[in-house]
Symmetry: C2
Subunit: 225 residues, 2 copies
DNA sequence: CGACCATTTGATATGGATCAAGCGATGTGG
DNA sequence: CCACATCGCTTGATCCATATCAAATGGTCG
C-alpha cells in the first residue's frame, strides 16, 4: 500500500509553493499538482501489484524500479534521477516496484487528478502521452542493451549515466554494483571485472568504486556497437 | 521512404468501405481513417530512421519490427498480428524497421490526421495514449524474457504465441526459427534444440516445424518462472 | 527429380556464471 | 581512538549454458 510505503521513511510535507524542478517546463501541470515527499535510502516507494493511484517525479536523489522473479532473480527496469517521472501506469496496478537508492525527494501526484485534467486540457493529455512514449523508448533502448556482450552493456550503461550524472568530469554512480548488474542482466562479478578491463584498456578511470572518469569516449562508443 | 517501401509489394487499393477488424472497437476511429494495403512476404513496410508519417494496423498476416546492429546482429522488437497496431512513434522517425513475415494486409493511417483529431476529441487522444501504453507493457514483458534461460525464453514465447495464434489446438507459427531466435536473443540452433528438449519432456509436440501443440501448459508455465 | 532453403543434430569452444577468497572502506562498541 | 565486524567490491579458479562451427535431414518449389 502507498500509505504504508510512505510511512517507511518520512512525513509528507506539502509545503507552500511547489518547487520547480530544473528544465522540463513541458510537464508544468504535473509539477503544480504534486506534494513533495522524502524517502530514506532503500525505502520502498511502491510495490508491484499495488494500486497505481499516484505518479512520481524525482526532485533529488535516485530511484530504481524492479521486478523479482519467483526464484529471486531481480531485474531493474530503470534508474530515475532529478526530473524523471516514474510510476505512470496504463492499468490500475504498478507493474514494477520502486525504491529509493539514495535519500530521495519525490513529487507525488494523484493520477486521477491528472487524468481528469487531461480530459479537458489536450495539452495535459499530450504531456501524459509523451511521458509514456519517453518511457517506451527508454525500455526499447534497454532491450538493445540486453542482447549485447558484457563489455557492450557496461559501456552502454556508462555512456547512459554520463549524460545524467556527470559532476566535474566524472560519472557519479548512486547505485551499487548489484544494482548495475541487475539492470544489465549480468552478475556483480562480471560488472566488476568488465570495469577493470575497461580501466586497463585506458577507456575509463576508477578513482573510487562509485566514481568513474570516461577517458576514451570513442572507445566506449565503439563498444556500444 | 514509405513510397519506395510500398512499391516493393503491391498497389494501394483503398476500396470503398473500410474493413472492420475483429473486436477492438476501442480503436474505432483508427479503423475509419485508414486505407488497406498489401505486402508480400518479406516486403519492407518501413525502415528505421524514415519519417513516421503513418501508423499501421494489421488486418491479416504477421509483421515483424527489428533493428540491426552495426555488426549485423538483429533484434526483433515484436511480432504483430491481426488487430495489432504498430509504427506509432512519439518522435518523427521510426525507431525500428518493419517487414511483413507472411503475405499481409495492413491498414495504413496518417498520423497527422489522428493527432489532429486527438486534439479535439479526448477519446481519440486516450486511444492513442493507450496504444503507446500497451506497447510499453509489451516491451517490458519482453525485457523480462530476455534475462531468462533459453528454456524459459522459449516457453514464454510459446505461451505468448498460444494466446495469439492458436488454430484447432495447435500454435501456428508464421515466423522462422531465425525470427524466433532474434526475438529471444538466442541462436537458431539453441531455439531448435530447446524445442526438441521440450518435446522430449512431453511439454509440447511438433507435428511440423511451424506447428506446435502445447501438451503440458503447466510445465511451460513453471518454466515461465 | 533436383536444387535450395529451413531445420535439426552433432562436436567443440567460450563468455559469463558460480564458487571462493581476499581487500578496502565504513562504522561501531569497547 | 583504536580494534574489529560488516559490507561492498575486486580478484581468482572452475564450471556450464549457450554460441559457434559443421554436417545431415527434410520440406518446398520450379
Amino acid at each position: 500500500m502507498l500509505a504504508q510505503a510512505h510511512s517507511v521513511s518520512s512525513k509528507a510535507t506539502p509545503k507552500g509553493p511547489v518547487p520547480v524542478v530544473a528544465g522540463h517546463r513541458v510537464e508544468s501541470s504535473i509539477d503544480l499538482m504534486g506534494a513533495p515527499m522524502s524517502f530514506a535510502r532503500n525505502a520502498e516507494i511502491y510495490g508491484e501489484g499495488e494500486p497505481a493511484d499516484y505518479l512520481y517525479k524525482v526532485i533529488s536523489g535516485t530511484v530504481r524500479t524492479y521486478k523479482v522473479l519467483s526464484d529471486g532473480r531481480r531485474q531493474i527496469g530503470a534508474f530515475y534521477m532529478a526530473g524523471d517521472v516514474f510510476g505512470l501506469e496504463m492499468g490500475d496496478e504498478h507493474t514494477f516496484s520502486a525504491e529509493a537508492i539514495t535519500e530521495a525527494r519525490v513529487l507525488v501526484v494523484k493520477r486521477s487528478a491528472l487524468v481528469a485534467l487531461a480530459e479537458r486540457d489536450s495539452d495535459v493529455a499530450r504531456q501524459l502521452w509523451a511521458l509514456t512514449g519517453r518511457e517506451l523508448s527508454r525500455v526499447q533502448d534497454h532491450i538493445m542493451l540486453l542482447i549485447k556482450t558484457a563489455q557492450e552493456r557496461v559501456a552502454g550503461f556508462l555512456l547512459e549515466m554520463a549524460d545524467r550524472a556527470t559532476h566535474d568530469g566524472a560519472v557519479e554512480l548512486p547505485m551499487s554494483r548489484q544494482d548495475i548488474a541487475d539492470y544489465l542482466g549480468l552478475t556483480i562479478e562480471t560488472v566488476s571485472r568488465t570495469l577493470t578491463t575497461l580501466e586497463n584498456a585506458a577507456a575509463i578511470e576508477l578513482p573510487s568504486s562509485r566514481r568513474i572518469v570516461l577517458r576514451n569516449r570513442s572507445a566506449l562508443n565503439r563498444l556500444n556497437a
